[in-house]
């Protein structure tokens, strides 16, 4: 799976530095994601994982001070968030935002029509995919009438984010902790759905603290972020190792290793 056939697409992040509230959080992130791949991003609380996700999606609070982010030839950093979405980037939020009075169905449909050319908007296909994903995520179709994220349980919100990704079918998706707050069955449903959504035309970056979801959504690589840098990367087994040993040993190693480049799975 790692070597997706051409014409593959690539999301490249190079030496990305970002500040929020005047404080530098990202201190030179390097990372490459190709279509066909599923990559996990782990790391301690506050290490900058969500910051990376927001910075890539274009959140106005995060200031990029240097570095690059390209989706194929496109310079993402020059685009407003909506244009990044139209270029094929999707962000599943760690904390999905509530919007009252706007139904999920209306929102999703608006978003669906905004992220593709008019001739690619197929109502029947949209509905068909939606129904299928609702059922694989264990969500009641009545959900679609509910106001966007309002009054949803934490787990429902997370599943709704994955539902949105599944239906919108983006080229690159960053899912920020799609498993936190989920019960055991839900982790399985979400993990399996993510695994099913792997495709030669999609690359996914799954941010998580737990290796449980990675049993279902099986990553090609695991990156570890420490203090605003990708400090380590490895195969799937790294996730288990982190779960048993914690992050302290990575932090120690981080000082000496070259961020993001010392990885066996890193590639040109």
């Amino acid at each position: 799976m790692t070597q997706s056939e051409s014409p593959g697409h690539t999301l490249i992040v190079k030496d990305l530095h970002a500040t929020v509230g005047g404080k530098e959080i990202l201190k030179g992130v390097n990372l490459t994601l190709k279509t066909g791949e599923l990559v996990a991003l782990m790391g301690p609380n506050g290490s900058g994982k969500s910051t990376l996700a927001y910075a890539l999606a274009g959140h106005p609070k995060y200031t990029i001070t240097s570095g690059e982010a390209h989706l194929d030839g496109i310079d993402l950093l020059k685009l407003s968030p909506d244009k990044r979405a139209r270029a094929g980037l999707f962000l599943g939020f760690q904390y999905p935002v509530e919007v009252s009075g706007v139904s999920l169905s209306k929102f999703l449909w608006t978003s669906f029509t905004q992220t593709r050319k008019a001739e690619d908007v197929d109502t029947d296909l949209f509905q068909q995919n939606l129904d299928q994903h609702l059922s694989s995520l264990g969500l009641d179709p009545a959900f679609m009438k509910r106001p966007l994220n309002e009054g949803l349980s934490g787990g429902e919100k997370k599943r709704t984010e994955v539902l949105q990704m599944a239906t919108l079918d983006p080229r690159f998706a960053i899912l920020d902790e799609p498993d936190s707050g989920l019960d055991i069955d839900a982790v399985k449903q979400v993990g399996e759905t993510v695994q099913k959504l792997r495709s030669p035309t999609r690359g996914m970056l799954v941010i998580t603290h737990y290796q449980r979801i990675l049993k279902y959504a099986r990553p090609d690589r695991v990156y570890v972020m420490v203090d605003g840098m990708v400090a380590l990367s490895g195969g799937r087994e790294l996730a288990e190792e982190l779960e048993s040993k914690g992050y302290d040993w990575v932090k120690v190693g981080a000082a000496s290793s070259k961020p993001g480049t010392a990885s066996p799975a890193s590639h040109a």
Partner: protein, 471 residues
């Protein structure tokens, strides 16, 4: 999903902004005097008591100072207005659409009447400046005894019912503008639904100011007899002139025991209209009065629909919505007066101020001694998408009874969160579409109460304002 297509309809800025030539059968000279009031009354061949009432109201109007609170009205020059202008001869209200003069017919056609009548409503009325030009009610309803006509006709043909209620809910000396209306009123709707009759589908009235610097002073009276049901909807529009216009209406509503009345307003005056309206209802035993009041237009609006809960178990629900953009002040709210036991009121105020617009919520809750077991819940939400607009809340509570009384008040002023906009944009919506969606969501409670045409109109309006707001 289908409704989405309608939302993408192209914007039509000129929808209301067209003017008919000012050809009037009757038009009083500018300004106001006893003579002009006599002239108006004479044109209408009114009984002496009404002329007398008008003149008393006029005396009070002269004595009564301008309100010393609320929006600035110093620009309001009563001598600059024409107080009566009728495109038809007085009393010449048409019953057949075809009989209307071409201009007027064309105006209301463009505003979606009488298409609306065919599609949806049980009765339709249209007022053009001072003149009621058209009125019609479905035959099955009139056979059941439902009366829906203009108030001048009611004074001639149903004077016994009219006289029983006229000025009893809103006395002329209630405020400066109720005095003005009582002195110069013309047109408005009169609705009476007999005991037990369900008028079911809405009766609709459309109010149009056409001439420059003219005042519209309609007088509306709605009565649902015991156990009857009425749903009334009104829409208001005007073209844009540089001179200000004045709209000062009085609306009186009576719900007898077990009756239900819903009164919906979609006020979309152009931004040169002073809209100073008194709306009040009396609700008797176990009746329900609902005000659904949307104010999107006008230069200045002062309007606080109220319900006096006068019978045990009576209920009043008020949904007051304000949308103020550049140059607009919408000062609105609601009043609930509990004077009987076990009464309940629910007030929801929702406002959006953008591009320097101002909204104020002004509310009064009065619980009289003896109104035991009363309940009231007030909720005010304001949304301020930018830093140049302003929203204030002025709630007043007068509570004289505490036995088993429950009161709750919540007020929330929100910015449209950057987080919300970012969330929607991260899904591909551009900034103005994102804000539009958030605003429509904020108003969803109101929009869902409206007939489809009105809801689409609201949507279009907000889209129009948004286009200017975001670069």
């Amino acid at each position: 999903m289908a409704q989405n297509a309608a939302e993408i309809t192209p914007l039509d800025y000129t929808r209301y902004d067209f003017k008919d030539p000012e050809t009037y059968k009757v038009r009083t000279p500018k300004g106001l005097s006893r003579d002009i009031i006599r002239q108006i009354s004479a044109l209408k061949h009114e009984p002496a008591w009404m002329l007398d009432y008008r003149l008393r109201a006029y005396e009070h109007f002269l004595e009564r100072p301008m309100p010393d609170w609320g929006p600035d009205l110093s620009d309001l020059d009563f001598d600059a207005y024409t107080f009566y202008a009728n495109p038809l001869a007085e009393g010449d209200t048409k019953k057949r659409w075809e009989d209307l003069p071409a201009d007027i017919k064309n105006t209301f056609d463009r505003l979606g009447i009488p298409k609306a009548e065919r599609d949806y409503f049980a009765g339709v009325g249209a007022q053009y400046d001072s003149g009621t030009v058209y009125h019609k009610i479905r035959e099955d309803l009139s056979k059941k005894g439902v009366i829906f006509c203009d108030t001048d006709t009611a004074l001639r043909e149903h004077s016994d019912i009219l006289r029983k209620y006229f000025g009893k809910i809103v006395p002329y000396n209630d405020n400066k503008f109720s005095a003005l209306n009582s002195a110069v009123w013309s047109g408005g709707s009169f609705v009476y639904s007999p005991p037990g009759v369900d008028a079911g589908i809405p009766l609709q009235a459309s109010f149009r100011i056409n001439a420059k610097a003219v005042g519209q002073f309609e007088r509306t009276l709605i009565i649902a007899d015991k156990g009857a049901k009425v749903h009334y909807i009104e829409g208001c529009t005007a073209p844009i002139y540089s001179e200000n216009s004045l709209h000062a209406a009085v609306v009186e509503v009576i719900a007898e025991a077990d009756a239900r009345i819903r009164y919906t307003t979609v006020q979309n005056w152009s931004k040169n209209v002073y809209n100073l309206v008194t709306k009040r209802a009396h609700a008797y035993e176990n009746s329900l009065v609902e005000w659904v009041d949307g104010n999107m237009g006008s230069k200045v609006t002062m309007k606080y629909p109220s319900v006096y809960l006068k019978g045990r178990g009576a209920r009043g629900d008020m949904l007051s919505v304000a949308f103020a953009s550049e140059g607009q002040i919408i000062d609105s709210g609601a009043k609930a007066v509990h004077s009987a036991p076990d009464t309940s009121s629910k007030i929801i105020g929702k406002s959006i101020a953008i591009r320097g617009g101002r909204t104020s919520y002004r509310g009064l809750l009065h619980i009289a001694r003896g109104a035991t077991g009363s309940k009231s819940a007030v909720r005010c939400d304001a949304l301020l998408p930018d830093a140049v607009s302003r929203s204030d809340t002025y709630p007043y509570n007068e509570v004289h009874e505490y036995e088993d009384v429950t009161i709750s008040h919540e007020a929330v002023v929100g910015k449209i969160g950057e987080e919300q906009i970012f969330y929607l944009m991260s899904r591909g919506l551009n900034e103005s579409d994102a804000i539009h969606l958030i605003l429509m969501g904020f108003l969803a409670e109101f929009a869902k109460e409206l007939p489809v045409d009105y809801a689409l109109e609201l949507n279009r309006l907000i889209q129009m304002e948004m286009t200017g707001a975001v670069g």
